[in-house]
Amino acid sequence: MNQAADLPLWAALPVAALVLLGAGLALVGSIGLLKLRSFYDRIHAPTLGTTLGIGCVLLASMLFFSVLQTRFVLHEILITAFMVVTTPVTLMLLARAALYRDRQEGSAEVPPVPPAAPPVKE
């Protein structure tokens, strides 16, 4: 907190706004995890935090350190890149696992295996 006093006001306001927006989106996503009814609805909720939520906070962090150190700090791009690559993969794996389990149990909520298709692998 000692360094924040050196930050000019024009940078402090966007940093504060972006931090609040990002944290707010993460909170809304987690509330969605509580509130939505079925699993397939809930799987949409965390994407709020993983896309724009963490994006806003990382942008705020980049702005904060770039202005303070008077040079570009681009570390945060790495986290953004990892997030962009990894989140869809985990969500797809999880959705497929859930679909497979529901089909095993014969749940009526999910569409059946298409008739022409070979049996599900593994």
């Binding site: 907190m1 000692n2 360094q3 924040a4 006093a5 050196d6 930050l7 000019p8 006001l9 402090a12 306001l13 940093v15 504060a16 706004a17 931090v19 609040l20 990002g22 944290a23 707010g24 993460a26 909170l27 996503g29 987690s30 509330i31 995890l33 509580l34 699993f39 809930r42 799987i43 909720a45 965390p46 935090g49 993983t50 939520g53 963490i54 906070v57 990382l58 705020a60 962090s61 904060f64 350190f65 303070l68 570390h75 945060e76 986290i79 990892f82 997030m83 990894t86 989140t87 993969v89 985990t90 794996l93 999880l94 497929r96 696992a97 859930a98 497979y100 389990r101 095993q104 593994e122």
Partner: protein
Amino acid sequence: MSAAIIGSAVLIAQIMLVAAMGCATYRILRGPRAQDRVLALDTMYVNAAILLVVFGIRSGSIYYFEAALLITLLGFVATAAASKFLMRGEVIE
């Protein structure tokens, strides 16, 4: 002035993120099914990564960034492994 703005924004953000982690914890404990718990755990990892970046802004140190990066990677590996287990575990049963 700037210190007060950043300080209060960071404090509010931390409270919101802890509340978000609380929601995810509730979902982990309640379930009802295994995939719900895995999804909530993944959300928890993301919230923890955001919280660490916010900590970094608060303390003005760039070392929290490394921790956030590690949490992101660990979260990916953990969720991928858990989803794979959900698919394979039932076959063996």
